[in-house]
Each structure stands twice: as structure tokens, then as C-alpha cells.
Symmetry: C2
Subunit: 122 residues, 2 copies
Amino acid sequence: MERTTRQRQAIREVFLEAGRPLAPKEVLELARNKVPSLGLATVYRTLRALQEEGFLVAVYLPGEPPRYELKGLDHHHHFLCRICGRAYELPGCPAEVERYLPPGFRPEGHEVTVYGRCPECP
Amino acid sequence: MERTTRQRQAIREVFLEAGRPLAPKEVLELARNKVPSLGLATVYRTLRALQEEGFLVAVYLPGEPPRYELKGLDHHHHFLCRICGRAYELPGCPAEVERYLPPGFRPEGHEVTVYGRCPECP
DNA sequence: CTTTATTTGGGAAAGGCTTATCGGTATACT
DNA sequence: AGTATACCGATAAGCCTTTCCCAAATAAAG
């Protein structure tokens, strides 16, 4: 990641504008509005570079391929729309998630995913 | 699923004995203790049949291939050990998970995964 | 403007999980 | 027991996502 290219700028912008986790396919579609010739290999290469650089982090939702979102957001969780498949950020967290574990289980993190229909879908 | 075979019995037993969600690979390993000749294709075939029959349901954890567990358990969530990779059932649920969504989001279900170290691991 | 090395894009290839194929086997019924 | 047929096991093939490869394009420095 030594040069500033149109492709990388486009991909950065797409994340800043989306405000939600994006899958590689979504990144490709959205960024092609800015750089029509963009290729899938470049998307994957750039996603990896932007993670190493600390701009993005991977988001894993149950049964889904990885998405990516801006690094450094406050602790939050995700909503996955069953209709359109888009993921959204959900602010906040039900605090006691890691309490009340059976004896011997030592928690180090958690993930909450809510499924349903997003505001865009019928 | 018309005949009772040693293979199918072994796979059913493995789930009843495990008390936790199992991935196909785990099913193969555990059931081979009972039927050493067991093949992977039979595991997949049987997992599908046991789902259609209502004995098992699929469990999806973030970034993981599907696991399977007994159908009909009380509402619960899962613990994924970062050391050994085993998944466990966690009784109960932090109740307000689906409340406090932004306007327009209509929840239809949720999944909670706690990560950490299980009682078996250092 | 020229040079030079990084980056791109398209397709091929890899990798992981799951399903299909098919001859041989074993179950269940007579 | 004998027989029809569902089932098994091993391998091949399929599907998706991700990475590799390399000639052509292009950003950055002189």
C-alpha cells in the first residue's frame, strides 16, 4: 500500500459512505460506480491491505461469508436482513451477555446477531 | 430413511451423548468409534436425513461451517472455544436482545455467541 | 517528459465444504 | 434362508470464496 490509486480511494470512500458492513461483492458493486473497470482481485487485495493498515476489520455473521467495516467503532452488534441480505450496525449491547456462564467457561468476547427485516424491505 | 442401519444408529447416539453441537468432521470421528468403516458421505447424507426427520437442526456460528444439534432444545445460545474449536450449549438468554433496535428494524430472531476458553482447555 | 516500480484486471487455480455417482453390501420382508 | 432394494463407502465432481499469475496500465520520482 504505497501508492494512492483511484481504486483504493474508491474502496475507502465506499466504506465511509455505507455506514454498514460490506461483503466483497458489495464493495465491488458500489466501488464500480466510481471506477467502472474495478476488478474483483483488486477488491480482495485492497480489503486485506486496509485491514493490515488498521482502516477495516472483518465481521463474521452466522452462516455468512466475511464482511468488513470501519475499525474503531464503539462496541456494537449487527442486524442481518433476511430479505435483502444486507448487514447493519446496531448501537449498544445487552450488557450481561458474558455473565451467567456455566462453571469453567472463561469468556473473552461475544457476538450478537439479530435477524429480521430492515427498514428498506417490505 | 427407511432402514435402521448401524451407521445411522451410531450417528444418533453420538449426538445424544455429546450434548453439544457437532460439525460433520466431529460426527465422523466420534461415530467411527462405534462403526470404524464409516464414510464421510454417509455422515453428510445422514445429517441431512436427520434434519428432515426433525431429529437435528443446523447451528450457524460466526465464521464457522455449520454444526448440528438436537432439535427441540429450550431457547439457548452457544459458546465457541478459541483453543479447541468445540461449540457448547449455553442455557438461557439475555432477554432484551431484540429490544432497542433503531426504527424500522423488525426482529424475527437472534443469535448470541460467546467466545473464550472452555473448561477442558488451559 | 521519461523512467521505474507498484498496481491493476482477467482468468486460472487453489482450498474447503458438500453433493453426486456407482458397484458392492446389508437390511427387512417373505 | 432367499431376494429385492435401500444403503454404504470411496472417489469424483460441484460450488463458492479467495488467492495467484502476468502482461498492461499508471502513480510517483527525477
